[in-house]
């Protein structure tokens, strides 16, 4: 029983990290209506960038964000501009999700994964940083975790707030929300719709890069790592409501808690299965997700 209770904070911490990864997906979908299935590999790519910075120059991933987040922003911006945009124009889909874009992102995901496999091989790479070595425990010593995991949770909250602030309190954000609500009308107001798409895509991928820095502190970098995170973040976003920023975070926490508590009560495999079942139930019963608008 005690173990089960202790699994809850573990789950929340893990869920915060999940939620942070899902944020990027949610932002991109909310604006462009594109489900970026390359999300997982983009996370993996940013983890490898941090890894390289750490191994070659001894730069801690937290510091590395300064370089990697802008690089990933430009990467996302370019993917939207040169790969997604032509497909949207070709399909002339006004606000509906163009299917060819979805398929393209799946292909892109694999291309990126095998590119990194080619360069780095399939081995698991971990780094030992200061934050991952610091153990945090409660006064009675019952609950222990590492500082890096707590930072990951805080980073998820900060990231969600930052994105919320950009979208709701800045001129750029107002324009991007206008594009998300009615892209034809936004164009008629003088807003460059595709530039807004590129910025949203860039922001989503940059958010991913911030999560990557936190993850690498206690996980590994490996070319396949994106697959599981990609699928999970997709499910989290559906759970929380596609396009909803708080939904992504809360969806992540629910997911994390189900996984860790489930692993205590039943087995790890059953818990993972349970989380997928939860996803299917939400999709069937409340397709807009817990916080999604119609």
């Amino acid at each position: 029983m005690e173990n089960t209770l202790l699994a809850i904070p573990q789950g929340i911490i893990l869920g915060g990290a999940y939620g942070a990864i899902a944020l990027g997906l949610s932002v991109i979908f909310g604006v462009t209506r594109v489900i970026n299935f390359a999300q997982g590999s983009m996370l993996m790519a940013s983890c490898f960038l941090y890894y390289v910075l750490y191994e070659n120059y001894g730069i801690d991933p937290y510091i590395g964000i300064i370089a990697v987040a802008p690089i990933m922003f430009l990467f996302g911006y370019a993917v939207q501009k040169f790969l997604v945009k032509p497909l949207i124009i070709r399909e002339r889909a006004s606000v509906i999700e163009p299917t060819s874009v979805m398929m393209m992102t799946i292909g892109f995901d694999f291309a990126l994964m095998y590119l990194f496999m080619m360069i780095f091989g399939a081995s698991y790479r971990t780094i030992k940083t200061t934050a991952s070595g610091i153990v945090v425990k409660t006064a009675d010593g019952m609950f222990t975790t590492t500082l890096s995991r707590i930072i990951a949770l805080i980073a998820g909250l900060v990231l969600a707030f930052a994105l919320w602030f950009i979208f709701n309190k800045t001129e750029l954000g107002t324009k991007i929300r206008a594009v998300a609500q009615n892209r034809t009308a936004a164009g008629l107001c003088g807003v460059d719709v595709f530039k807004s798409y590129s910025i949203a895509f860039g922001l989503g991928v940059a958010a991913l890069a911030v999560s990557g820095a936190c993850l690498l502190q206690f996980l590994y970098a490996q070319p396949n790592m994106g697959t599981m995170f990609g699928v999970k973040s997709f499910m989290i976003v559906v759970l929380g409501g596609l396009g909803s920023i708080p939904g992504a975070l809360i969806g992540g926490v629910i997911f994390g808690v189900v996984e860790t508590v489930g692993a205590q009560l039943i087995t790890g495999t059953a818990a993972t299965m349970l989380s997928f079942v939860l996803f299917i139930i939400v999709l069937v019963v409340k397709p807009t997700g817990l916080f999604g608008k119609k």
């Binding site: 107001c189 003088g190 807003v191 719709v193 608008k293």
Partner: protein, 234 residues
Amino acid sequence: MLKVNNLCAGYEGLEIDHNISIEVGEKQIVAIVGANGVGKSTLLKAITGQIKLMGGNVEFNGEDLSNLPSHKVMRKGVVLVPEGRQLFPMLTVDENLNVGSSTKENRKNRRENKEKIYEMFPVLKERSKQKAGTLSGGEQQMVATSRALMGNPKLLIMDEPSWGLAPILVTEMFEAIKDIRDNGTSILIVEQNVQKTLEIADKAYVIEQGTVVMEGKGSELLLDEDLKKAYLGM
């Protein structure tokens, strides 16, 4: 200032407008009237870069606007109030006006423009923090018109501004349109309320099956027997 020459336009290989030529001069209200589905909105979409031209060209103050994307047409000073308002429903009235004036140039006199608009439509000031989607039809039309005015249009294009409005509001809308013209903005208006439109129009074109079949002064067309029969039920 606006010259549309032999414009052809349509959708997916289906041409709807054939060789349409119209002209709008400085400080003019120019009307395009015609029944439902004759290609009036298609013409406006082609002018404002929402669909590609299949032929002809669009000139504005000597510049070629043909096939520019919407946001570039808007930045040249040709601003559309689209059919059905097309507001940003989840943004507040104030945010809608901000998006309408979000280009670098238009941001400069955003505050003055808002003051002018709140003078013209005082109710919008009260509603400024409310989501646009929660407003009544009449208020939404005011927001749509105001959002376009925030973009400092040289030419304001209005697609069915009286759509869905109560009769008293229709009269007010037409008064507002005259005021806008008197303040120096040219207007190109597409309307199904033929009577009221022709009353205020300096010039009007009648479109049938994608071609211009008649043109003249608004007041003259109002006296035309065929037109009376076809559109005014007299």
